[in-house]
């Protein structure tokens, strides 16, 4: 560092601030300051003034901060971008073995403590955990940007609703069937597309998600269009949870001789969903320690080297794509049965973006991060319900900032270590 650059240059700061102010005045002036009203307009100069002032103040502070030594170190840390990946020592035991039993105890206690509203919120959180885990395999591990993820979610949800309506298929049949259906859809879409170079996949999957939504919206005779269809409630070996059994037979409260609990359906969905999330978490944990999981990550790191190692890159990508899709299919079944009613509006592009935001914030490739961020985002979503428009704006800002600041997410990614062996013969 030379002496001149560490000195405080107020002229540069003021010039920067002024330029930024000018640019933001031109940017915000027309859009924020002149609000269209029919063919005329209303002028709102004070909004522009506030925004320009905020941007200028921000730039000024950033410049001042950037000229201090601490600030310079901070900016340097932005540039370094080491990814924050580290290898754990060989015999490392995760703190998770203490945390997990606590989480399970809390989960068991929840149905007795929470009211119906909170139960539904937690179910929604778990659905997003499932979606996040599935997308994390595709984006985080295999490095494939899938923007039509919601399409597979829709396949699961409509699979249950339409399967019940036309074929009489129930909740339990549809869980595996939805996984298979979504995986097959993923394979049909992925096989031709995955052999191509990188970014096209993002836009093709985006198109696919939209095709699914448009077909659901327009095929009135089959899907009932925008009016949606109702989905069946789950049953337990044919026993129903409603006040009265619709299919005949005895509802569960009469069978057990207890008073009717209006939350019973939700508690049951919650229980099954929780078990499935645990199962998926375990499978995910195993996958990263299996040949296929390693192959996904290797493919993300360097596709050409992978091909030189004898890996069929198309099939490896396809497997990630299909497993991710099937997870979304299962999540879709739960979404449909918990809502009891679905329409195409639930499966728009923003839903894909929301799941992507969960994965990005949680850390591409980090399982724990995704679980936490799914809960945080969904709860945030509930709390900020009345600020609907700001919510998406915040997500957008978060995505841009995260990519600059911590592209691998807030939680450091750790890799398992292996005990060193010496003098081994192959």
């Amino acid at each position: 560092m030379t002496q001149t650059s560490s000195s405080f240059d107020i002229k540069v700061i003021l010039r920067d601030t002024f330029m930024v102010g000018l640019v933001s005045l031109i940017l915000f002036g027309p859009i924020v300051g002149i609000v269209l009203d029919g063919y005329g307009f209303n002028v709102e100069p004070q909004r522009v003034a506030i925004m320009v002032a905020v941007v200028m103040a921000g730039r000024f502070l950033l410049s001042v901060f950037g000229q201090t030594n601490k600030g310079r170190a901070w900016i340097e840390s932005f540039r370094r971008n080491d990814g924050g990946v580290h290898v754990l020592p060989p015999g490392y035991k995760s703190n998770l073995r203490f945390i997990l039993p606590v989480v399970i105890l809390v989960a068991i206690a929840l149905p007795f403590l929470a009211n119906k509203y909170w139960l539904t919120v937690v179910i929604l959180c778990l659905i997003y955990v499932l979606l996040g885990l599935g997308l994390n395999i595709v984006v985080g591990l295999a490095g494939l940007l899938d923007l039509g993820y919601v399409g597979f979610y829709a396949i699961g949800a409509y699979g249950l609703a339409l399967g019940y309506q036309y074929l009489g298929l129930g909740f339990w049949t549809m869980i595996p069937l939805a996984a298979v259906m979504a995986a097959v859809a993923g394979a049909i879409l992925g096989f031709p597309v995955l052999r191509m170079h990188g970014d096209y996949l993002a836009i093709v999957t985006l198109g696919f998600g939209e095709i699914i939504r448009l077909v659901l919206n327009n095929w009135l005779e089959f899907t009932n269009g925008p009016n949606g269809v109702s989905a069946p409630s789950p049953t337990f070996f044919g026993i129903e949870f409603g006040r009265r059994a619709k299919e005949g037979g005895v509802p569960i409260h009469e069978l057990l001789g207890v008073s009717y609990n209006p939350n019973a359906t939700m508690i049951f969905i919650y229980g099954v969903l929780f078990l499935i999330v645990l199962l998926v978490l375990y499978i995910k944990h195993r996958l990263t320690r299996m040949p296929i999981g390693r192959a996904w990550e290797a493919l993300r790191e360097d596709e050409i080297a992978c091909r030189a190692m004898g890996l069929n890159h198309v099939l490896v990508k396809l497997s990630a794509f299909m497993i991710g899709a099937s997870t979304a299919g299962i999540a879709g079944v739960f979404f449909a049965t918990y809502q009891g009613f679905i329409n195409p509006a639930s499966f728009n592009f923003f839903e894909s973006v929301l799941v992507l935001a969960i994965v990005v914030l949680g850390g591409l490739g980090s399982t724990m991060g995704v679980v936490i961020s799914a809960f945080v985002m969904t709860l945030l979503f509930e709390v900020l319900r009345e600020f609907g428009d700001i919510r998406m704006l915040v997500f957008g800002v978060l995505m841009v900032v995260m990519m600059m600041w911590r592209p691998r997410g807030l939680i450091r990614i750790s890799r398992s270590g292996f005990a060193i062996r010496k003098g081994v013969a192959p």
């Binding site: 027309p30 859009i31 031709p192 198109g207």
Partner: protein, 304 residues
């Protein structure tokens, strides 16, 4: 020939030339930094708002003659939208130039969300509109039926051709264009030869945004209505046009736009208009499978 066919051909040509203008933004950015600028559709959306605001301002100041209004609006919209293009690159992409492959894509999606919701917050969620500027139409009688070509459509096609011609001139004949082409061929080498590639990339974003602005003004003239979500579908379609023509190729973008516009209009007119978006997206998937280099693009050779 069939009246509907001809009518849809005209509609398709109008729509297609506008797709082509937006596709230029995708194709140039992809050519130069190899990323899909997901926020480009929203740049177009911003320009549509700017067009309406510009027109409203013009009539507020008592300017009602068509040439003055359209020229003023165009200049206003192009200038401000270009600044948006520049700012987006500066904020969301430039800091990520040496990052992972996924980072700029995700950042672009973030930027797209920001633009949509910022405009929604500033202008409200309702549909906006502009009054018809050019009245009147040509009526051509063909056999039993007839075809109506509004003056607006003729103006759009002419304006797109002029815009494309101007761009071709800039890229082929000027120093700036030479720098762009050099940077597209080999960024490192261009840098070694003293070209400020960061600035060239900024210019490319500005040019793309300016073309999107032209498209924004033209579409707004034709359809009259738009909302903050308008960039999404048109963005994907323009990208389809860019891929169809061969990504990285300027004439390809225009050709792809026209082919997509015409075939989509024919599909809507002759088959089913509910599924015209499905048709376009399916077309995108099919092109990527069978001819990923597009009509005028060069096949991709991976460097090992």
């Amino acid at each position: 020939m069939d009246g509907i066919f001809l009518q849809q051909l005209i509609n398709g040509l109008t729509l297609g030339s506008v797709y082509g203008l937006i596709a230029i933004g995708y194709t140039m950015v992809y050519g130069i930094i190899g990323m899909i600028n997901f926020a480009h559709g929203d740049v177009y959306m911003v320009s549509a708002y700017l067009a309406a605001i510009g027109l409203a301002l013009m009539s507020f100041f008592g300017l009602h003659s068509f040439p003055v209004m359209i020229l003023g609006t165009l200049i206003f919209s192009v200038v401000v939208t270009s600044l948006y293009g520049w700012a987006i690159e500066r904020i969301a992409y430039k800091p990520l130039r040496n990052s992972t492959r996924l980072a700029p894509l995700i950042s672009a999606i973030g930027m797209s969300l920001i633009l949509q919701n910022y405009v929604q917050l500033a202008q409200g969620a309702r549909q906006q509109g502009v009054p018809t500027l050019l009245d009147g139409a040509l009526r051509l009688h063909i056999g039993e039926g007839f075809v109506i070509i509004t003056y607006t459509k003729i103006f759009i096609i002419v304006a797109s051709i002029v815009g494309m011609g101007l761009l071709t001139y800039v890229i082929q004949k000027t120093t700036l264009g030479r720098m762009c082409r050099a940077t597209q061929q080999d960024r490192k080498m261009a840098q070694i030869l003293g070209i400020n590639t960061d600035r060239v990339i900024s210019y490319v974003f500005i040019i793309g945004a300016a073309m999107a602005a032209l498209a924004g003004v033209l579409i707004t003239m034709n359809y009259g209505t738009f909302d903050f979500y308008a960039g999404f579908i048109i963005g994907i379609k323009a990208f389809t046009a860019a891929v169809l023509g061969g990504i990285g190729s300027l004439p390809g973008a225009m050709l792809g736009g026209i082919i997509l516009g015409v075939s989509e209009a024919q599909f809507a007119g002759l088959v089913n208009s509910d599924y015209k978006d499905v048709f376009s997206f399916s077309l995108l998937v099919l092109i990527l499978i069978f001819r990923p280099q597009g009509l005028l693009g060069k096949p991709h050779v991976a460097k090992v």
